[in-house]
């Protein structure tokens, strides 16, 4: 497999690693102090979780569209369900529609328990080379 995230500077900044099982990717953001947004609780910055979810979606779309260089986000919606604790975050994305021009993706991030996600993402990506 080609690990798209390994080549993206911001994914490296977040320390993201990717595991592939069949067609499904699981992305992990190992805990690091530099991800903290609230030092009192302490809690991860919501932006780091959102960025990690978006990059998980990017990687999953890239896997499905091998001829595309990089899918471009049109819009993303993130819901923060639980405070991000100072531990690793994992995420997986599911492509709900793989169109000719647009793909829709849903992704979830969790920490200790996959049944208690800390954030979800729903996003549209442009997957046609000539658009925009």
């Amino acid at each position: 497999m080609s690990d798209v995230l390994a080549d993206l500077p911001y994914a490296r900044f977040l320390g993201l690693t990717t595991e592939q099982d069949g067609d499904a990717l699981t992305v992990t953001m190992p805990f690091a102090d530099k991800l903290i947004g609230n030092p009192m609780l302490p809690a991860l910055h919501g932006g780091s979780t959102a960025a990690m979810l978006e990059l998980t979606a990017v990687a999953q779309v890239a896997l499905l569209y091998p001829r595309l260089k990089l899918p471009r986000p049109i819009n993303v919606t993130v819901a923060y369900l639980r405070s991000g604790r100072p531990v690793d975050v994992h995420a997986r994305a599911r492509i709900s529609k793989a169109g000719r021009r647009v793909a829709h993706v849903q992704a979830e991030a969790w920490q200790e328990d996959e049944a208690q996600p800390i954030a979800t993402l729903s996003a549209h990506f442009l997957v046609a080379q000539l658009d925009l």
């Binding site: 993206l8 030092p39 978006e54 328990d113 925009l132």
Partner: protein, 158 residues
């Protein structure tokens, strides 16, 4: 007229957490209820190395963060807040190797929720790279003190 204590705190709130510090966020200005922060362009914050454009996820973080500042401006005090949700529209590619500025405005405060809009741009908010619409829960740490996230997770009904 003397500036409120909150206004003097804004530069710290913009840059003071480990994540915002690591990303190089910088406080820009407050004009009326519109607050601005900047992220200076940096090689390791790029999304696509072939274009040199800052990553989408970084723009999301910038918009999330500046929105929080706008909520504190509207409250005119610091209290614990938490982003409930955030929608970002990416309207065009950012300019390669250019800093981004984000501006936010809290346009409604209710008892427990703040509603915010925010924009990211290089030069002018009329030509945005991205726009966000977000909601923040107020007083989000009620009952959860310092170090609360170091204990096992507990939920209502458990």
């Amino acid at each position: 007229m003397s500036a409120s204590p909150l206004i003097s705190l804004l530069p710290t709130l913009a840059t003071g957490a480990a994540h915002t510090h690591a990303l190089g966020f910088a406080y820009e200005s407050l004009v009326g209820d519109r607050v601005r922060i900047r992220v200076p362009w940096r090689e390791d914050l790029v999304g696509d190395p072939d274009t040199g454009v800052l990553a989408g996820g970084l723009v999301t973080t910038l918009l999330d963060h500046v929105g929080g500042l706008a909520v504190w401006v509207a409250l005119d005090r610091f209290e614990s807040i938490a982003t409930l949700d955030l929608r970002v529209d990416y309207m065009r590619a950012a300019r390669p190797r250019a800093d981004l500025i984000a501006e936010a405005r809290c346009f409604r405060l209710t008892h427990s929720v703040a509603f915010v809009r925010a924009w990211a741009f290089e030069d002018h908010p009329d030509d945005p790279v991205a726009a966000a619409q977000s909601a923040y829960m107020l007083n989000s740490s009620s009952g959860r003190g310092v170090g609360a996230n170091l204990a096992p997770r507990r939920e209502a009904g458990e």
